[in-house]
Amino acid sequence: MTDPEIASPSAFPEPSVLATHSAATVRPVHDEFHGDLLEVSMGPQHPSTHGVFRMVVTLDGEVIVKLKPVFGYLHRNHEKLGENTTYLGSMPYTDRLDYLCSMTNNWAYALAVEKLAGQPVPERAEYVRVILAEMTRLVNHMCLVGFLFNDLGTSFTPLLYAFREREKFIDLFESLSGSRMMCNFQRFGGCRANPSPEWLGAVSKLVDGFPKFLDEYEQLLTGNEILLARTQGVGCLSPELAVQAGITGPMLRASGVGYDIRKADGYGIYPRFDFRVPIGAHGDTYDRYMMRILEMRESVKILQQALRDIPAGPVMDPKSRLRNFRPKPGEAYGRIEGPKGEIGFYLISDGSPNPLRYRVRAPSFVNLTVIEDMCLGRTVADSVVILGSVDIVLGEVDR
């Protein structure tokens, strides 16, 4: 139902000469015919911005002429806190970064510290970390798809189906780590507790039943004509601009760039598993939705392989130290493929128990760079959907 020639965003700005970027794509604003432009502030108190995020939108009728993201409302200077507590003390705070995927945040931080201190990790811990990371990816993608459909105007039905499945995974996290969302489970050199065989059995049973839920979900939504109309061709992002703007995760792969850190860096034991990385062709909101669905199917494959050949043994390296852990002076940048994109920790140690510099590279923060490029020329209703497809969590954006 969309008219291709509807005011689609003008030619993508030539990335190299950026200085003229903002002027080139904004139409002459105040000429006679336009009448006065309407400046609307969407957020920070708005039903569909995910958390305290604000977009100052300049509207000409329904069409967006200018869009400035404003955030920082949830800024609690996470990095200064990191500099004032010990390495172990920062671990529970990493749960609060992207509060939907605490396991992957913990793993990224643990990976960076292990790279900083050269700490080996036992075999079983690597498998447990892959299992937990892929479970977190499923949980996060379910949340994203649910919220995206809420922005599109369904009355909570897809969201509640997705949350019904998410609850089962969250309960497994709780029975393993003690808390549903704030797991604080990884330590430098392994995991805090050893998952019992019953727990692993419960995970494999849940994972085997997951594709059935996905099929029902796709039957409800993927073919829906209104969804096709509302999302295809909306918020297109060209591959060049995506790479140039440092977009990572499903949003990048939806634009056709097949870059997945699990394949590129091969950290942990990912090279042992065979899984495929789906790529989109148009880079619009529909592709980003389908990326998440296809990635969920790939994660199920990885989980089944990991659960099949997880070895026995300890999950914590005997030489790892909990208290007064002083890595030798140096710096390290560790990164993993989080559900939202590349989440990385850059640590500089000067031999003391507190890190000299503790930097978090949050995927949502960088993925927001192109929100204006995607929304120019679209209507207000589209901007809400495009923001939903970018999948931001304000705990991570504001740090």
Binding site: G72, V243, G246, T248, K328, Y333, Y346
Partner: protein, 216 residues
Amino acid sequence: MENLEQIRDRLLARFPGAEVTLINNPGPSAQHSLLLGLAQAREIALFLRDDPALRLDYCSNATGIDWPAKEFTDVVRTPVKDAAGATLRILEEKTKRVTPGFLEVVYHLYSMEKKHGPVVIRLRTGNRTDQVTVPSLTPVWRSCDFQEREIFDLYGVNFEGHHDLRRILMWDGFKDHPMRKDYVAPDDYEWEPTPHGAVLEKAKAHYPAPPPATVP
């Protein structure tokens, strides 16, 4: 990917006037970095991005670091011997050496096309007070847009050539740069009688009299 020394030599060959020095990383992660002079930083960055062998088209992370001025006291001990060779007393000369502080911006570059690992480049400002300008790399990699604004906001590094340099996390009226080591937090704590020391003293100093006991 070729190692850092080869890249440095190619850069020196390509840009004769540039200062490109290799900074060694003592830690086990062995992620060494290249310190670039500010004059030709942007040309070098463009070269790193467009060179067919490197193709570092993705700047994953831009970080600000505050290196405050450090004081070293070198102690030189010269034993004073009497004629018979027995040491009478040791003469200690303490020489105070102060290394000037500076602000540093670190960029981690990756290649999405060739999928090879981090090349770390560092830019350093003159000092921490007036010479705090660094050429912005946002025109080269647009992913540094928000991250450079965050460094400007939290460290005070001024990025020349950035198309929209404003504060990003703190509110616009904020004056100081919170992530600097010598930042003093404002003393506007609400009365939070948590048992713990630091907060308690600061709160007591702020409010001499505790609030009237609230009826439970």
